[in-house]
């Protein structure tokens, strides 16, 4: 049984563009190696935080949408905790309304781009 998940994580602004890209690659590779299918990836770039986290006021935001076994999530989250470059992360299980919304949002952003 697989579920759809959506993960947003924030990387420290200390990293250079290349380092940030490398970190993102590490996690997307981790997800796909865990037998998950990645549906969508989105880079929000360097954004200002609403409040400081670890004394930083900005962060690289990245969103991944994927379909995976529930067992993968726990290991993915420990991987996030272990990595010092990740400041925050949030994984959400998507229900069917959420999936529909995400698809609509994607189409909309594609049209404007």
């Amino acid at each position: 049984m697989t579920n759809r998940y959506e993960t947003v994580f924030i990387l420290t602004p200390v990293l250079s563009e290349d380092q940030a890209k490398e970190t993102v690659k590490k996690f997307t590779a981790y997800i796909s190696n865990g037998g998950a299918k990645i549906h969508h990836e989105e880079n929000w770039g360097l954004k200002k935080l609403a409040y400081p986290i670890q004394k930083k006021s900005t962060g690289f935001y990245y969103l991944v949408e994927f379909e995976a076994e529930p067992t993968l999530i726990a290991s993915l989250e420990t991987e996030f905790i272990r990595d010092e470059r990740v400041m925050r992360f949030l994984t959400v299980k998507m229900d069917k309304d959420h999936v529909a919304f995400a698809e609509k949002r994607r189409n909309k952003s594609k049209k404007t781009a």
Partner: protein
């Protein structure tokens, strides 16, 4: 002799403005936590959630709004505490 009280100007009777659930009317089924600008209308200036009696949201969606705001705060898209947000 007229007993009834007469007013010079017509008195203003307060009429209740009909509140409605914004989500039900717009046909929105999912409340997005990534859209902080949208969620701004359900919090006050301090960033606290507004009660249902103020916004008119239905129980079903108030729950979802609450959840979305909390997720949004966790990801630093919205502040936990602030002043003069709007």
């Amino acid at each position: 002799m007229a007993d009834d009280i007469r007013y010079l100007a017509p008195i203003q009777i307060e009429t209740k403005k009909d509140k409605y659930c914004w989500f039900k009317k717009a046909g929105i089924k999912y409340v997005d936590y990534k859209d902080a600008d949208f969620l701004l209308r359900f919090v006050n200036e301090q960033g606290k959630l507004l009660p249902r009696r103020v916004t008119g949201t239905s129980v079903k969606f108030q729950k979802k709004v609450g959840q979305a705001v909390k997720r949004s705060r966790h990801l630093a898209l919205m502040p936990y505490v602030t002043d003069m947000m709007k």
